[in-house]
């Protein structure tokens, strides 16, 4: 028989399944899901959830006995209320300023000449470690008018007890406005143009156009997201305060994180736990409010939909467009200039003269690398960041796949728990986590430090990756499932579809670990001194060390700056679409 005749076209027989209802398994993939979720669950349970519970428990007991609200009274006794109030003030004022500034700058720099450079300058501060920001602004606000430009210009004592909070806030605003600008720019690009035309066609005034075609569809949600992000971030003022505020005025700048750190001193104590619980409650309430506020009237435009001719008509007034962006860029560039200029002086010059005088040279850098301590810290931090990033990526990818496509019981609840875990402040966890690490014999070691970083990074990474995986088209998932027999291979086939989210997670995680100061301060030891901690150590004798500190800051800032600027698109996408969907 010839080969082309050898085709056998037969008929297949199938039989329907009818008859009495048969009970089956509710969760057939429970074993796989458990395996996928186990690493994330262990990390979160051991290093986040258990510490939170332990803190809650410690806040109402003393050596095992129930004491009611005793610790709360102690914690709020002297100036506890003012500390809590100042924390809230931070969480209210700074986000408002950042949001407003970000909105205006985004609107003004949009489609203006040189907008790209302006944006770059505005965005750069996000990438800096907050310790570096603190160093920069401490240089700028130096009480000696010879050295401190701001003091020289205004004649006010910025780092004195009256203005210290304002000074801190200005540094924070400088660091965070870039993010707001980026997010608002993305939002403006996504605004549907036809909507404004429709409102106008129905006789709407400019106010109506703003309200119905811009505010309600997208901007309200964007504002809420920016506000919530910045408000959450104010819990990281810790770094700024420790670096910027001189020891004499630190009480005037005291906020909850610092107070918790001061009172706990690495162990679980009643009053600090009570303060931590209060603070946690405020944070969670804020999250709830933000979640309610971010619900929007209709779904955002589908990603990739071809509606790109939007927003060309939405422009700021001409004068603003011309003048504001360059002015902002110049204004934002000053601290960079101060930092770099200071670092280029010899240590003695930097300590005695202003940054605009004196010869330029690399003496500070040379001295910086002489001892070898900084080199060790750099290597350690790089290794730490790399290890943590890879671990977080693997653990989060497994958990995210399980939550997105295997649909275990309680996937919805898991989302809420993750969101909560992502916003728990480190200071609240510090005492219990130290206990856990002590029990495991890892306190103060590289591994312990890495574990804490991973546990703190996993929730956010899982959220971002879960959403990215859930956005993979069904057809592609089906193809992957047909091709691979096990869940692992399905995940391996799906992973390429999530490259932007993976990049965002990697960059954010790497930068976060690199820039970290809090975790290092709480959990580092003599064997594990990360970069932030090393810099902080040098700021003790700030004036005499200012050249070295500035040089170290520049060295520490280069890598995150490059990373964030290179991947800013993915980072913003990941932040906006993933974290708060």
């Amino acid at each position: 028989m010839s080969p082309e005749r050898g085709v056998l076209l037969g008929e297949t027989v199938v039989i329907d399944d009818v008859g009495p209802a048969r009970r089956g398994r509710a969760y057939p993939t429970i074993g796989t899901t458990t395996a996928l979720l186990l690493p994330a669950a262990l990390l979160l349970g051991g290093l986040v959830l258990w510490p939170v519970l332990r803190t809650g428990h410690a806040s109402v007991t003393a050596e095992g006995d129930f004491v009611g609200l005793e610790h709360f009274r102690t914690a709020l006794a002297d100036d506890g209320w003012s500390v809590l109030g100042r924390t809230l003030l931070w969480a209210m004022v700074v986000p408002t300023v950042v949001t407003a500034l970000g909105f205006v700058l985004a609107a003004a720099s949009r489609r203006s000449s040189g907008g790209r450079i302006v944006t770059l300058i505005l965005v750069a501060p996000i990438a800096l470690p907050l310790v570096v920001t603190g160093v920069t602004f401490r240089l700028l606000y130096d009480p000696d008018p010879e050295r401190g430009t701001a003091t020289w210009l205004t004649g006010a004592l910025w780092l004195g007890p009256e203005l210290i909070t304002i000074a801190l806030m200005s540094a924070f605003v400088w660091a965070w406005v870039g993010l707001a600008v980026l997010v608002f720019r993305a939002a403006f690009d996504a605004l549907p143009l036809a909507l404004a035309d429709a409102v106008r066609a129905y006789g709407g005034t400019r106010l109506d156009v703003f309200r119905d075609a811009r505010w309600r569809p997208l901007l309200r949600r964007t504002v809420a997201i920016v506000f919530a992000l910045v408000a959450l971030a104010t819990s990281r003022t810790f770094d700024l305060i420790l670096v910027m505020a001189p020891g004499s005025v630190i009480d005037e700048a005291m906020v909850a994180p610092v107070r918790v750190w001061q009172t706990s001193s690495g162990t679980v104590t009643g009053p600090s736990a009570a303060l931590g619980v209060l603070w946690l409650a405020v944070v969670l309430l804020g999250m709830l409010a933000a979640a309610l506020w971010t619900r929007q009237a209709w779904p955002p435009p589908a990603p990739g939909a071809p509606v790109r001719e939007t927003g060309s008509e939405w422009r700021a007034p001409r004068l603003v467009r011309r003048l504001l962006p360059p002015a902002a860029a110049v204004w934002w560039a000053i601290p960079f200039v101060v930092l770099v200029a200071t670092s280029l002086h010899a240590p003695r010059d930097a300590a005695t003269r202003g940054w605009w005088t004196g010869p330029i040279g690399l003496a500070s850098y040379r001295e910086l690398f002489e001892g070898g301590g900084l080199t060790r810290s750099l290597a350690l931090t790089a290794a730490l960041a790399a290890v943590v990033t890879v671990t977080v990526l693997v653990v989060a990818l497994l958990a995210a796949y399980a939550l997105a496509w295997v649909s275990p019981p309680g996937a919805q609840a898991a989302g809420v728990v993750l969101l909560g875990a992502a916003v728990v402040p480190v200071q609240v966890l510090a005492g219990p986590v130290t206990e856990v690490l002590d029990r495991a014999g890892l306190a103060g070691t590289f591994v312990g430090l890495a574990l804490v970083h991973v546990a703190l990074g996993v929730p956010f990474a899982v959220l971002v990756l879960r959403n990215a995986l859930a956005d993979v088209p069904l057809a592609r998932v089906r193809r992957a499932r047909l091709a691979g027999r096990r869940e692992w291979s399905v995940l391996a086939r799906l992973a390429p579809a999530t490259v932007p989210a993976v990049v965002a997670v990697c960059v954010l995680e790497f930068v976060q670990v690199w820039n970290d100061f809090v975790v290092g301060l709480h959990f580092g030891g003599p064997d594990a001194v990360p970069l932030g901690l090393a810099l902080y150590g040098q700021t003790r004798q700030f004036v005499s060390n200012s050249g070295l500190v500035a040089a170290g800051s520049v060295v520490a800032s280069v890598l995150p700056l490059l990373l964030v600027i290179a991947f800013r698109r993915q980072v913003v996408g990941g932040l906006v679409s993933g974290a708060l969907r």
Binding site: M1, D17, R22, R23, G24, R25
Partner: protein
Amino acid sequence: MTREPAPRWQRVSAAAVVIGSLSGGVATDLIADAVGSNLGPVTWLVAGGLAAVAGIVLLALEFRKRRAAEWEEPPPPVPRQRAGVPTDLPYTYGFAGRDADVDWVREALETEHAVALVGRRGVGTSACAVQAANMVRDRFPDGQMYLDLRAYGRPMRPRQVLSAVARKLGARPPRSPRAADLAATGAELRARLGERKVLLVLDNVADPLQVRHLLPPAPQARLLMAGAPSLSTVDGVAVRWLGEPDRTDALKLLADARTAAGRRTAPTEPSTKDLVELCGRQPHAIRALGQQIGHRGWRAEEVLTALRHVVAAPVHQKVPHAEALPLLAERDIAYRALSGPARRLFRLLSLAPGPLDRPAIAALRRHPEQALDELANGGFVSAAEGGRYEVRPLLSGYARLHLRHDEPARRRLWAYARLMRHLARQAERQDPDWLVLHHDLLRALVTSSPDGPATVVEPLPRRVRRWWFRLAVALCAWYAEQDRTDEWEQVCHAALGTRLGGDRIGGDRSLVAGWAHNELGVIRRRRGDPHGAAAVLTLAVTERGRRGQAQARTNLGLALLDQGEVDAAIEHLHRAREHRAPGDRAGQALTHLGLGAAYLARGEPTKARHHLVQAANAFEAAGDRRGYAAALTNLVLAQWRLGEHLDAAHAWAAALEVYELIDDPGGRAAALLNAGAALVNTDPPRGEPARELLTEALRLRADRRPDAALGRTLLHLGDAELAVDHPTRARERWQEAADVCEEAGDEEGAAEANHRLTD
């Protein structure tokens, strides 16, 4: 005759008296202790209270009595005569119709000595006999005597009968109840009558023994009897069976009763026709109803609506009060004459809308034999094929009335639940003979529940619901096997429309709906509508929840496979396989079978073979030969494509062997096609056996609508013709194959056929 047990209220009142006296004694004692020797105000208070209670009770009793007396009895058709004493022949009152019967009696009395009219109690034998006797009064100048053999509600003994007749005729009553004495009295009576022309009318004869010694009567005397059907066993008596009056007579009875009760002009309402049918055309009930309609001015239309409601409402349904219900239920003479167990059985039999066999009747009521005999003898039930019994169709409405009136709601429901349980268990055995016999009944039971006439149907009670559902499932399983899709669909729709209530509404509701949608999806798939099937099955998957979705998902996969969405089908089948319980071997096998077919369609024979081998093993372990054969049939294709021709040959041989033993023409046709195709494609081709197999396959497909499989059969038949050197016939077959394949949308087959035609 068995003594009927005391009514319920008597037992209750006896118990109340006992408990009341005991508690009264205790209370008296306590009060006496409290009061001491002086009667204080407390004593007077208690005494006054007791007096008031007694007064209220007396008033209530009086009120009930008056209410009961409101039902005015219509005058009886044969006026009451003195009990146990022969009297002159009375005239009838309000007699109508029955001309044929009366004429027959008149004629029979000329030739026969003894004539009997027999029938059910209350059907009108007495009236008819007396009417006939009155019409032939002239022929008996020497006297016409009438004797009611039921004195004081009890049948007279033979000695009493003879004594009464003897006293009237002046003869000597029998000395003792012994047979010899009775016979002597009978002979004396005959001698005394001699040649006199006397007509003796004996009414309400319950037993032939009562009249045996009066037979045969004297030469010129005539004996006319009216009574029970057992009279027909006596020799020498001309017997005529008297049925219920026909519709015209019944309508006339009703109209007469109305007129007599006061309504002069009786408009002929169309509803009266249905009304008399509802009463089972029982004369007494019709007269009573007519009396009330005339007396109170009821509208026949309204009475009918209310009664219909009572009759047609589902068992668990509450119905509004119908005033005519107690009137009718209490005036069924024949029913009231039954023993207690027989009455109950009669009521309960009306629960079933069709005939029941003895085990099912036993489920309604234990040990029904005696009661069933009584009902059969009394003309209440009729026998049906297969040793089954049902309430006579004429009486079915009346039986429902009795059920509503006499059976408390709870016991009514329990009996219904027992019946459902029995039938469901029986149906689950899937005995084909039993199902063939009963399936009308079962379908009526499963589908009738929702279409009550009430606007608001109460949900099916939990006690019944479970068995109702199992019955529906078992019935549908049989329909599925028989491929009776229309009835199957009807039952599924009825299940979807049934209101289910109770504590676990969500669970049961979604279970039933999920099941029904699963079945409906399969029905649509079998009818060749895979898109509709997929829609319904998607619904079923969501309704069945996590634990139950494997079945619906399997079917959904098959429907998608029919649509050509192979990838989606495979995904659903895989998920179905994961959701199967480990113990659900049969279900696993079905899903594996579907997966095998899907992978064949996707062109992955290795995976297909894996799943099909699993399916075949599982089917064989479960003893499902149909599934086993189907798996082997598919395995032929998989193995052949993998080049395992010998294994394929083994597989098709085994499949055909199994198909010889079971009745599955569709599967057999497929197996024949695969076998023939495999034979003709081997090297060298074996054309002759292939042609035989394929011709047989073609024959099996002859009466089906043309599909892709038919085209492929023709294609390979062409190959076989070519192999046995018939190129012309081969070309014809290929041409047909190309046409059929194109019509069925099978591009692959059409391409192959055209390719061969061009070669």
